[in-house]
Symmetry: C2
Subunit: 197 residues, 2 copies
């Protein structure tokens, strides 16, 4: 269905103008997939073969350390998501990619992606800009670890992701902020007390 690609092309059009022929090719290479909550799309130790565009739902990328799951990133609607490290290098990675909600995804695999680069050279421009944005984004998160205290980091997260506090378990957010659930709970308490004044 064309309606599956509305947000997809809305994003791509901001990066590089695509004509109808190019869009048609892309529609044949990306496929629609429904994935239920708590599905692991990529396992650590295996190579990520697919790249996803999220039409609806949430994904998270995480590491495992000592049996514990540590969130590296939470992907929202209308973003591309993958265990990039593994997908780009086509080597086994150390990250897991999992759905946090029932998801509607557009999917392309690595081979199809190479085909896309061949048939739609503009794709190099698009993925360059996406990679640049991702890099800037990663750098911003990194800066928060260097410049901010855990409490400030929580405050910023709350400000720009108010909805996620209700959509996903807190301990996932805590690990994303680099703290324990206990510590995050204390921070939340402190902030509520301070708001009273």
């Amino acid at each position: 269905m064309t309606s599956d690609f509305i947000h997809f092309f809305q994003l791509l059009d901001t990066l590089s103008e695509l004509n109808e022929a190019e869009k048609k090719i892309m529609k044949t290479l990306f496929s629609f997939r429904y994935v239920p909550k708590k599905t692991i799309l990529t396992q650590a130790g295996e190579t990520a073969h697919e790249l996803y565009f999220i039409n609806k739902g949430l994904l998270r990328l995480y590491y495992r350390k000592d049996g514990e799951e540590i969130t590296a990133y939470i992907f929202r609607e209308h973003l591309f998501a993958s265990s990039y490290d593994s997908f780009l290098k086509q080597e086994p990675g150390i990250q897991y990619l999992e759905t946090l909600e029932d998801c509607q995804l557009l999917v392309i695999n690595y081979r199809q992606m190479q085909e896309l680069y061949q048939t739609v050279p503009k794709m190099h421009i698009i993925t360059r800009k996406i990679a640049e944005q991702r890099f800037i984004n990663a750098q911003q998160i990194l800066s928060s670890f260097l410049l901010d205290s855990p409490e400030e980091r929580y405050a910023k997260f709350e400000q720009s992701n108010k909805d996620l506090l209700h959509r996903i378990p807190h301990h996932i957010i805590a690990s994303y902020l680099g703290i324990t659930p206990v510590s995050m709970s204390r921070i939340r308490k402190r902030r509520i007390e301070q708001q009273r004044k």
Copy 2:
């Protein structure tokens, strides 16, 4: 001089094969520059107009918070460096870019960069791959903040950057690791004591 471009093309050739005509264009657009130690190349609050390739020397990217300098990244020889955020968006940034040693740089400005995209379309592929690598790199550093203790982070840094411990002041490394110089000194002491056993 052609010898100025040896490492430059050595890197680029691994990303996409360039013919002599393309290399010639690049030689005219990149210019050679000698920059003494402790020179600020990009100021926070200003737009970064240039992108650098480091032939020799070290650069560091840093933030300022409460008068303190906090290192975001240390660029080595044969890497591209810039205050990317500002350079890519062509907006004022919040980072400073400074030489840590006397440097030999290849320089291109934003306008020339756009010209390069026009005349050498392959450049989109090259910068896409560079951006992807940078993203993976940033993600790796980020994972170290999520998964490792400050002590483990120091250990990993020491392992992969042994030379930097002698080339640059420790407090710069400490801020890069997200800790204070005092804490880093304690970590170093602990490690020496443990090695005795």
